[in-house]
Symmetry: C2
Subunit: 265 residues, 2 copies
């Protein structure tokens, strides 16, 4: 039975825009009735718009939105986040067969800087805080709430990038975090054979981050690469990439912990 045929609890971070928004909407369209979409983001206003959009097209699923900043490293905010969401929204944990977590939230880091320009402690701490520490804490909160005892089927999808495996000048902060997270989820795949773990690299998509990649990079060669990609129409619609992710999950033959790129498929 495919991923989207089970009554599921979806958790999607960074769901207010770009890829996260596309994941929320495309997954909701595919989701079995009575599934719930739990959407997290700092931007609650934009999150409410995503909620409205899902409610208008997918009456059979419920939507819960939650203002959440993965970079606000207050342990208590992570600890009981899902207990609280379930309680406040009168959700019953026993009513779901499956949990699908999508770690999409993340930041680019300052790509106007080369490695040698990285001299600011708070900039580095903030970057690793939101992209590593915060992500790991949220993941632990997921694993400890959506336990194997409660959820026979679990998926954890890390939104990865080509930059996890290929170095780009002026992208040291982004590359470093993406490589780190791929490895983190590879270790989790080894530790948790009952969780299906996927590192999905969506390809270059039309997002605010893609604009920053192109406009802010300090490196002329890399700028040229991003501009050519843009000018030649090779930047993907988010939905195009996410529909391929949906296919990967439906086919469900990937090796747990693998890095799979849009262009591999």
């Amino acid at each position: 039975m495919g991923v989207f045929e089970k009554k599921s609890c979806f958790v999607i971070t960074g769901a207010s825009r770009g890829l996260g928004r596309s994941i929320a909407i495309n997954f909701a369209k595919k989701a079995r009735k009575e599934s719930v979409m739990i959407l997290l983001s700092r931007d609650t206003k934009a999150l409410n718009e995503v909620e409205t959009e899902i409610r208008s097209c997918c009456q059979d699923v419920s939507v819960v939105v939650c203002g959440f900043d993965q970079g606000d490293l207050d342990e208590r905010k992570f600890q009981n986040i899902f207990e609280n969401i379930f309680k406040e929204n009168k959700l019953s944990i026993d009513s779901f067969e499956q949990a699908v977590i999508v770690h999409n939230a993340g930041t680019l880091g300052d790509n106007s800087k080369y490695v040698k320009d990285l001299v600011n402690v708070s900039e580095l701490n903030t970057h690793f805080g939101v992209n590593l520490t915060g992500n790991i804490l949220l993941n632990s909160a997921c694993l400890n709430f959506f336990t194997q005892e409660r959820f026979a089927h679990r998926y954890v999808i890390n939104i990865s990038s080509l930059t996890a495996i290929r170095a780009f000048k002026s992208f040291s902060l982004y590359c470093t975090v993406k490589a780190a997270r791929d490895m983190f989820y590879k270790v989790m795949a080894e530790e948790e054979p009952n969780i299906r773990v996927l590192n999905y690299a969506p390809g270059p998509c039309k997002t605010d981050m893609q604009i920053k990649c192109r406009e802010n990079t300090s490196d002329p060669e890399v700028k040229q690469m991003f501009e050519s990609m843009h000018n030649e129409g090779n930047v993907l619609e988010c939905d195009t990439s996410i529909q391929k992710l949906v296919q990967v999950l439906e086919t469900d033959t990937f090796v747990s912990g693998a890095h799979i790129d849009y262009y591999d498929l």
Copy 2:
């Protein structure tokens, strides 16, 4: 002309024991006369012993030891570290042809924990602080002091690990940081074509960290693997591995930014 034939300034972090100590001593033995070994570590007492050892065997090189905690993220401590060392030790920057930086300092992280057990903010912040933020800050300090204008020849060696490319249960913190650092130095290799950058994985060596790997892991399979390696005599002497690193540097044909393992050679 080989790496060790130039009058060099060597900087080695974590030089008080284990691999760092072995790097310091083996490099000093190879170093051209009038080179200087700048040895950093939190443990100044052990560092002084390494200094004594080098002075007794290598009268032609000078040794500077410096108490330094890469995890103490005070920007000012990183900013002028090499200016201060040069001033305090009356070293003249013009007298060196080459700088060789070895980023060896690092911590294992708590390998009694699985991914799902990582719920403590300060533990994660400390781990990423010393192994990523602190390492990046020290590296920037190196690049901004040992500039291309002053040093025609520069090498940066990141002490990597098999765990940078292979996932081991209960080693998520270590694997994540090692993968992150490999990628960081790959980006640097792209950005800095005039620096020779190497990610060297030394293999399992007889260090305090190796004991922790074996004794503290929460995972029975991984424990068994480390114990077999230990019992069958497959844990290397630090010097054995570092002599191979010396060879790699002497041959000097590696692709800048490459990950090279002891067992690849």
